[in-house]
């Protein structure tokens, strides 16, 4: 499966906004997902499950850390790197 850089970000924004935040808030790429009232620990687990399902990539436990999950922006950067390692990212152009 091939993903573009922007499709990764859009897919994550859509899922977090609609599913984890019940469509109440449109999450921005730099919003802190870990601040109070955003995504709780169970929500974080659902997000990992969603990544696995949508991108066919299993997040290794050692990567399930604040530095990679703080915001949709850093999370899509992380996913791009890992998917690129697996040859699954093509450029937007």
């Amino acid at each position: 499966m091939q993903f573009t850089q922007s499709s990764i970000g859009d897919t994550l924004i859509e899922y977090v906004s609609e599913e984890l935040l019940s469509g109440q808030t449109r999450v921005g790429p730099d919003d802190n997902l870990l601040s109070e009232g955003m995504v709780d620990s169970l929500g974080m687990l659902r997000l990992v499950g969603f990544i696995e399902e949508s991108f066919g990539f299993k997040v290794p436990p050692q990567d399930f850390v604040i530095e990679n999950f703080r915001s949709v922006g850093v999370l899509s950067d992380y996913l791009q790197r890992r998917l690129a390692d697996a040859g699954q990212v093509s450029s937007d152009a």
Binding site: L34, E36, G37, V39, S41, L42, P61, V65, I66
Partner: protein, 530 residues
């Protein structure tokens, strides 16, 4: 001899002033700094009109300042009221009004939510400590820079051990949260018992995982302070990402970890414990809800050098039983342990008569760690306490836990369930009636049923089923959004189903048992791939 909670830190500040009292990532406070900082805050609060027995709120994420807030509020003779930092505006407003909170220790990041709370109607708030007041707010603001310039000596204040020390709000079955009142005496009695029972010493580093409005934090702070030990704050974002959490436990050399089974299961499954140096960890204490034994055994095998204890007790009485697990324990459940040596247990039947040894019944507890009562709720207080004549001239007061137990021959109690509709979700206690009341308050909702089912992560999850009024319009997301404005995040149903009708019992009530059985059946079918 200390008889007030803030005296605990004064004592260590005099004996070992440079010893670390509170750590939070790369920041820390020594006992001398904590004591002086708390006194400065106490003097500031007094200057702002706080009197003995006033309630002062703490509404912020955990950090060094929230620890200062606990002791500063106590040092001026007031009681602290920890507010859930993620609570929606309506819940926040309810507690501020219910408890008559005029002064609040808070942070700039919380001002938006406070303004929302104020929009719902008048609040008793007068003064905020923390924000710099740059924003246009209807309250006086005192920034930390001003607090840090105040007098570091303890203010003169009359306070006795029966005075109110803290009020913890918990889910209430009538649809509104209720405030559990503890005194210096009850808090300190528990802290002393726990410090002795867990052999806490100055070198210990206790993790503070729980938010301050969760009673687990009482042990983290006050039992730690009894021993002159260090309390290591685990910031909220670390608790959501297990590998970050375990890295913090290792880096901070945490020796005692008190938390809920859900968090420990996350650490076990996703915390890469095999890569972390947890050699300093000597004791894991869990409470809040039962620990599925499969995961508990795996955790003990992963950390064979760590002693593991199950502690039990509703927030109304603090911890009152505990059980140390044998490395090779058998069985499918873990006892909650014998009653603490400072407490007495009585198991009664529905009529209030003691049951025969080995029979099941409701657990009543008589203990110096017991609450004073629920704030402003005479109705709940009448039901919560049980009076029993011990001598013709002496009547003892017990707290009715609502928990069903059975005492084994060895004095160990076994937890059998609840008498009412209270459930635990990831350690938080929730009255299902409160969630149903919040749903039914929506204009479009006719009836609602909320129930709990087990989840794969070792805890439970809430499910809600709703019928709409004729002509009522609301979809699932609208109802969840409505709940989110009223309930804390841990009270939100994971699944919300709109139905045309409910199954009924023979008396016409919603058949919640059948709803739950249907939900379990579906979950099992999905799990089995059918």
């Amino acid at each position: 001899m200390s008889y007030l909670l803030p005296q605990l830190i004064e004592r260590t500040a005099a004996r070992a002033p440079q010893h670390q009292a509170i750590g939070c990532l790369d920041r820390a406070l020594s006992y001398a700094e904590l004591a002086a900082g708390a006194n400065r805050l106490a003097n500031t609060l007094q200057a702002q009109g706080v009197c003995r027995n006033d309630r002062v709120g703490i509404y912020m994420d955990k950090c060094l300042e929230s620890a200062l807030a606990i002791y500063g509020i106590l040092a001026c003779g007031a009681a602290y009221v920890p507010l859930d930092p993620s609570a929606p505006a309506e819940r926040l407003a309810f507690i501020l009004r219910d408890c008559g909170i005029r002064h609040l220790i808070t942070a700039d990041a919380k001002l938006g939510r406070l303004a929302q709370a104020a929009a719902s109607g008048p609040l008793p708030l007068e003064c905020l400590i923390g924000p710099d007041g740059a924003q246009d707010l209807p309250w006086r603001c005192v920034p930390w820079s001003e607090v840090h310039a105040a007098e570091p000596r303890a203010p003169r204040v009359k306070c006795i051990e029966q005075d109110l020390a803290y009020v913890i709000y918990t889910s209430g079955s009538t649809g509104e949260p209720k405030g559990i009142m503890h005194t210096h005496h009850s808090g300190l009695s528990f802290a002393r018992w726990a410090a002795r029972e867990y052999g806490l010493r100055q070198e210990d580093r206790l993790a503070n995982h729980a938010p301050l409005h969760f009673d687990l934090s009482i042990l983290d702070y006050f039992a730690g302070a009894v021993a002159g030990a260090t309390t290591v704050i685990v910031p909220e974002d670390y608790t959501r990402l297990p590998a970050s959490y375990s890295a913090l436990l290792a880096a901070q050399r945490v020796s005692v970890l008190y938390t809920v089974p859900f968090a420990l299961i996350q650490l076990l499954l996703r915390g890469v414990l095999e890569e972390r140096d947890l050699s300093a960890l000597r004791w894991i204490i869990y409470g809040g809800e039962p620990f599925p034994v499969k995961h508990l055994r795996a955790l003990m095998q992963r950390l064979p050098h760590v002693r593991v204890d199950n502690i039990y007790g509703p927030a109304e009485v603090n911890g009152v039983t505990h059980h140390t697990l044998a490395a090779d324990f058998d069985g499918d459940s873990v006892p909650i342990g014998p009653i603490a040596d400072i407490a007495e247990a009585l198991v009664v039947d529905d009529s209030g008569a003691p049951v025969a040894a080995g029979e099941s019944g409701e657990l009543l507890v008589r203990t110096p760690t017991m609450m004073q009562g629920y704030w402003g709720r005479a109705d709940l207080n009448r039901a919560a306490f049980f009076r029993r004549q011990l001598l013709p001239e002496y009547t003892a007061v017990y707290y009715r836990t609502g928990d069903l137990v059975r005492e084994g021959g060895n004095g160990e109690f076994e937890f059998l369930g609840r008498k009412d509709r209270q459930v635990k979700v990831r350690g938080y206690r929730i009255e299902l009636d409160e969630v149903e009341a919040a749903l039914v308050a929506h204009a479009a909702v006719e009836e609602a049923a909320v129930f709990a089912v087990p989840e794969a992560e070792g805890s439970q999850q809430l499910r809600a089923a709703v019928t709409l009024k004729a002509g009522g319009e609301a979809d699932r997301n609208a109802l969840l959004a409505y709940l989110k404005e009223r309930l804390s995040w841990y009270m939100l149903p994971a699944v919300l189903e709109l139905r045309d009708s409910f199954p009924r019992t023979s008396t016409g009530k919603i058949d919640r048992r059948r709803l739950r059985a249907e939900a379990l059946d579906t979950t099992e079918r999905i799990a089995a791939g059918r």
